[in-house]
Amino acid sequence: MGGKVIGSILAALVLVATWGPGAAWAQKGPIKIGFLAPMTGGAAQVGKDMVNGLTMWLEEHGHIIAGRKVEVIVEDTQGQPNVALTKLRKLVESDKVQVLAGGLFAHVGYALAPKVDEYRIPMLYPVMAADDLTQRKPARWVVRTGWTSSQPSHPFGEWVVKTLGYKRVVTIGIDYAFGWEVVGGFQKTFEEAGGQIIQKLWPPLGTTDFAPYLSQVRRDADAVFALMVAASSLRFPRQYADAGLKARLPLLGGGTTFDEFVLPSLGDEAIGGISPLIYSAAIDTPVNRRFVKEYRARYGKVPSYYSESCYTTGQWINDAAKSIGGDVEDREKFLAALRKVEVPDAPRGPVKLDAYGNPIQNIYVRKVEKKDGELWNTVIQTFPAVSQFGKYKPEEFLKQPVYDRNFPPCKYC
């Protein structure tokens, strides 16, 4: 097994050749933040948005938190749970970070949570949205600064019936946990408000040709609710229009179907799409206007919710550390402080945590519109201070199983 030896030598050579010695971890005293994000692979662009958000906050504040210098160590998860676990170990055991943040994809979130508890190091989840991470399987040391997948869907489902008046809706959701949760949350409140889901279609993850699904869509519906992610978000609106559906059935969606990450790549066919999320770059508040302007100046594009959430995560760590006088080495105290943070003026609006460690925050219903030649998610409705449980009591809500492909069941299909 010479692999280890040769591997180490090779790695060392590469290190010397590309980076040179004397990297970072020499000084004493900085607060070290370990940040996990996919920096290579299919989701590398999302990873970049995430890092940009955090970096921007730190740069704006001189890399100082509670009077201490801040050092961020970014590790590439490659979007894979096992790599994320290895890098987590490296950040905690070799780099001795005091706080962790980041991560993308639900399975990475589930993989990391037990280890984070084992290490007893606080970790902030700005993006990973799997419902049960703060519902049925909460981890003590995980603090979510993002959202749960079904959180925006809850107020939205009811709103679609009561405001838009749609009674019969077809759903098309990417067939994996995130899709099930977004669609499930929508179905629950939509049907409780008197609507009927008359058809549920589940294209598999990675689908790029939706023609077989679009041809099945029942034409006697009032609207279509689509949940797309990444590559499928880029293609879906075009194909929806090409199938002749845009003119007949209004297109609603989950937040990621039309988020700022994909909008610049979409054409006019996306105009009119309505979706709920915790953020829109078009939120018309001074804080957000400044944030968007600054972000564009730095990175040349409109911030996505990934960027906003990681930016706010920087603020979050700051506020918690400040409240305990910078003593982040006392982990229990630090964790308690993190859970108590209330950010009244994040770009997305006021944010604070519920008892389960998930933000209570505004949900914005956004409509894709064209302004100055660009697509924006104009906010057409704001639900203030929405918890992950919506209008339900947590104990009642948690009695139902987590949303999946067949829950809630399709009673009107």
């Binding site: 097994m1 010479g2 692999g3 280890k4 030896v5 040769i6 591997g7 180490s8 090779l10 790695a11 590469v14 290190l15 590309t18 980076w19 920096m39 290579t40 590790e75 590439d76 490659q78 894979q80 749970p81 096992n82 790599v83 676990l85 290895t86 890098k87 170990r89 490296k90 055991e93 070799s94 639900a106 399975h107 589930y110 993989a111 949570a113 037990p114 280890k115 799997a130 049960d132 399987k137 067939d175 994996y176 946990a177 993850l205 999946d404 492909r405």
Partner: protein, 322 residues
């Protein structure tokens, strides 16, 4: 005896030194390196198991991650839901992988070459699909988290990195011993003959299919064995472990290290695990480096690293002379 290496002792000494280092060094390296060593050793078992199919039978499989997954899910499901212990999960994991290999072999071994590649790919996707869609059992793509480290009823706890490493290292030695015994046995010689000329073996009187089938099943079983350890190491199982990219990675490990050499694939596994995890700490261009390593291997050492070393030391690929 056939004429062997000019300096027959050299490779053995080198191998002994590496094994010695693997046995002695872990307590003295950083915990991150310990974690990488553990992973590398598990992947080494996996790569060696695939080498039976690729290196000895001469068939390229793109579905080997399926066996890793079967072993890993056996642990994930049994340990978290039923509190099953190490020996139970190990037995079930290996038997399940063996049984599935026995079924897959019936389908896949009808073909050779690129058709074998495509059939194994499809079969691998079937297992991935099950992991992804059979949510009530596997929890879908959220994966199964919270797999505890094994308890063997021994006085030390395998929750700690060092004892767990030694457990994995012992497993590696066992797997290596078993596979080495097999490839050097008359049966292993038969596999080499099949790789070299299937038609000739047939007229010599070999039931070629049967030998390939047995080899294929052994590879699956040992792959499941690696999967069991993998689940315990990560404490987590998800369909990501069964993706095509994992199968490709294992195949590359074997090709990189040298197919048909057993230790070569183990070396390849170590190299790739370190490249993937260690080099990516220092540069996001690790994929570029990995690509360069592959190309370098294809151009300068088409038989893989160990294959090239053997030619260099004039050690034939002989098994009869040892």
């Amino acid at each position: 005896m056939t004429r062997r290496a000019l300096a027959p002792g050299t490779p053995r000494i080198a191998i002994a030194i590496v094994f010695g280092l693997l046995a002695v060094s872990p307590p003295f390296v950083s915990s991150f390196l310990q974690a990488l060593l553990t992973q590398a050793v598990i992947y080494a078992i996996l790569a060696m198991s695939l080498d039976v199919v690729l290196g000895y039978i001469g068939l390229a499989s793109l579905g080997h991650a399926a066996y890793l997954g079967l072993g890993a899910y056996s642990v994930g499901i049994l340990a978290t839901r039923h509190g099953a212990g190490f020996w139970v999960t190990l037995t079930v994991g290996v038997l399940l992988a063996t049984a599935v290999a026995a079924v897959f072999g019936l389908v896949a071994l009808r073909a050779t070459g690129v058709y074998f590649l495509m059939i194994t790919l499809a079969l691998g996707m079937v297992v991935w699909g099950l992991a992804h869609r059979w949510v009530s059992l596997t929890q879908g793509d959220n994966g199964i988290s919270g797999v505890p480290r094994p308890d063997l009823g021994l006085p030390w706890s395998f929750a700690h990195a060092i004892p767990f490493y030694y457990l994995v290292f012992t497993a590696f030695l066992v797997a290596f011993g078993v596979l080495r015994g097999i490839v050097r046995s008359p049966f292993g010689a038969t596999l080499v003959g099949i790789r070299e000329s299937e038609s000739r073996m047939r007229t010599l009187g070999y039931h070629v299919w049967l030998h390939k089938y047995i080899g294929f099943i052994i590879a699956g079983g040992v792959g499941g064995f690696a999967g069991v350890l993998w689940a315990y190491d990560n404490g987590f199982v998800s369909p990501a472990d069964l993706e095509l990219s994992t199968s490709v990675e294992i195949l590359l490990m074997v090709a990189l290290g040298g197919r048909g050499t057993l230790l070569g694939p183990a070396l390849g596994a170590g190299l790739i695990v370190f490249l993937k995890n260690l080099v990516s700490v220092y540069t996001q261009r690790w994929l570029l480096i990995l690509g360069a390593v592959y190309i370098g291997t294809i151009v300068y050492a088409p038989e893989g690293i160990v294959g090239a070393l053997r030619q260099w030391t004039k050690g034939e690929r002989a098994w009869a002379g040892r």
